[in-house]
């Protein structure tokens, strides 16, 4: 694998993470991280939508009239989002029922449009597909980290399985109600950004 392709894949996951560095896609990361299962499905859905829309629009990039390019992007992204929603409804109904509102909102996720505008319209299809998938993965990793923390401390479970033993509750331990509410996700993401900037000094603003 040549260095440029490697950079395309690794950059969005670490140095150019869409949530912690570009601070995009915050709304949905607050909304779907209460439970790990929802976060996993959301991460997968966003990765697929971002990857495929980057691929399709990269293929079309030389034919799109510049004046209506945003509309064309929206049409393609909307189509993919509806397809993901329909497929989930047919093959994973319980999860679709839980996430239907947020799946629909993938279209407004800034990461999708951001990557199309910034990368796919100026690059060949394969790097665009990889860039889209990697950005989706970068988004997904943060989502999963936040969701693990929130489900574990908010409900005492992971993927619906009780993790914190009954004995703790009997000894007076209580699930943290604040962790369940969206503000805690914002605080958590803030902490992740803090840690990341502490490690990667070049991200710090002078």
């Amino acid at each position: 694998m040549d260095a440029k392709l490697k950079e395309t894949i690794l950059n969005p996951i670490l140095k150019g993470n869409p949530i912690t560095v570009l601070v995009l896609g915050i709304c949905s990361s607050l909304a779907v991280t209460v439970e790990l299962k929802g976060a996993l499905v959301m991460a997968l859905s966003v990765t697929i939508v971002t990857g495929l829309s980057c691929l399709v629009l990269s293929l079309l990039r030389n034919t799109i009239p510049n004046r209506i390019r945003i509309i064309v992007q929206l049409v393609v992204v909307a189509m993919l989002v509806i397809l993901v929603d329909q497929i989930l409804k047919a093959y994973s109904y319980a999860i679709e029922k839980q996430l239907s509102v947020y799946i629909g909102l993938i279209i407004t996720n800034c990461i999708v449009m951001g990557r199309i505008e910034a990368f796919a319209l100026g690059n060949k299809p394969i790097p665009s597909l990889l860039d889209g998938l990697a950005n989706g993965a970068g988004y997904g990793i943060i989502l999963i980290v936040v969701a693990i923390f929130r489900e574990l401390f908010g409900s005492g479970t992971l993927l619906g399985i009780q993790i914190i033993p009954e004995a703790f509750y009997n000894a007076g331990y209580m699930n943290n109600g604040l962790v369940i509410l969206p503000p805690m996700a914002l605080i958590l993401i803030g902490c992740i950004i803090w840690i990341q900037r502490g490690i990667q000094k070049d991200l710090q603003e002078k």
Partner: protein
């Protein structure tokens, strides 16, 4: 080619939209049968959970066909009733027809239009269990569910609730917390009152269920949904509720609001504490009802 000319732009956008529309139409058509089957199995498993035949979690694991088979195993009668409580039409049992279009039915209910509400009667060890749906607005989106009544059509045999987007960990407990659902079991619907069955803080009556702490709005919404829908079913239930004032040992007397008495059967006793409600089948021996 000049991709910025007006003609090109118009033709391009038209072609893109037609292609996208075709793909979506094809996907919707191709996936519809599977989606409908999912919705139906989901609805049926909610009913079966409410009637305490199985748990929703187990039903979700066994797949759609097995859920439908379970339904066929227990269902005895299914039909729709109108606002006067009269039967409108029978639902086809062979094809497991369901008539749950709760959103539309709720709109009709609110507007006072003609109603056609489903009633499902299951057979539980020879005794009928009647299951009816409820639907209404929670805090963030719709909440709905099914309530099952025992053969006296007053005692709640079980309930199941679901929601679209209530807060996980708080309002979502109406679905996720089995303890909340368990609180409904044994409650007595007060068909004579305005509030047939309600959810409120500090429940004290037989037709009241304790609300969920921290989920006041969801509890209120669900309570409203139950009250509105059970009110609509009131004529049917009032007309069909059994008038028998006898109960078996170990059961609660079905004598409703007028006389809330338990059957405290003691060996040899034929009369329970309340005069309207004589005990039947009181066994001799050491049997004693557990409180």
């Amino acid at each position: 080619m000049n991709t910025n000319s007006n003609v090109y732009t118009v033709v391009y956008s038209t072609v893109i939209v037609v292609i996208v529309a075709a793909i979506l139409a094809f996907a919707a058509q191709a996936l519809k049968p599977k989606q409908d089957a999912n919705i139906k199995a989901d609805t049926i498993s909610q009913m079966l959970t409410a009637a305490q035949f199985a748990s929703k979690e187990d039903l979700a694991k066994i797949g759609n066909d097995a859920v439908l088979a379970e339904y066929s195993k227990y269902i005895k009668e299914a039909f729709t009733v109108n606002a006067q409580g009269q039967k409108v039409r029978d639902l086809d049992l062979a094809s497991r027809e369901i008539a749950d279009n709760l959103h539309a039915q709720n709109t009709n209910l609110k507007k006072g239009n003609d109603l056609e509400l489903p009633v499902y009667i299951f057979d539980q060890n020879g005794k009928p269990v009647t299951v009816v749906p409820v639907y209404g607005a929670g805090l963030w989106g719709p909440v709905w569910g099914y309530i099952a009544f025992k053969d006296d059509l007053k005692t709640v045999a079980g309930a199941y609730f679901d929601h679209e987007s209530e807060t996980p960990g708080l309002g979502a407990k109406i679905k996720d917390d089995p303890e909340f659902r368990a609180k409904f079991v044994g409650k007595i619907a007060a068909w004579g009152s305005d509030k047939v069955l309600s959810i409120l803080k500090g429940a004290s009556q037989n037709n009241e269920v304790d609300a969920i702490t921290g989920a006041t709005m969801t509890s209120k919404g669900l309570s409203g949904a139950i009250e509105t829908w059970l009110n609509a079913y009131k004529p049917y239930f009032s007309a069909n509720a059994t008038t028998k004032n006898k109960c078996n040992c170990g059961e609660f007397c079905p004598c409703g609001e007028a006389c809330e008495c338990d059957c405290h059967c003691t060996p040899g006793q034929t009369q329970c504490n309340c005069p309207d409600c004589p005990c039947e089948n009181c066994p001799t021996g050491s049997h004693k009802m557990e409180e």
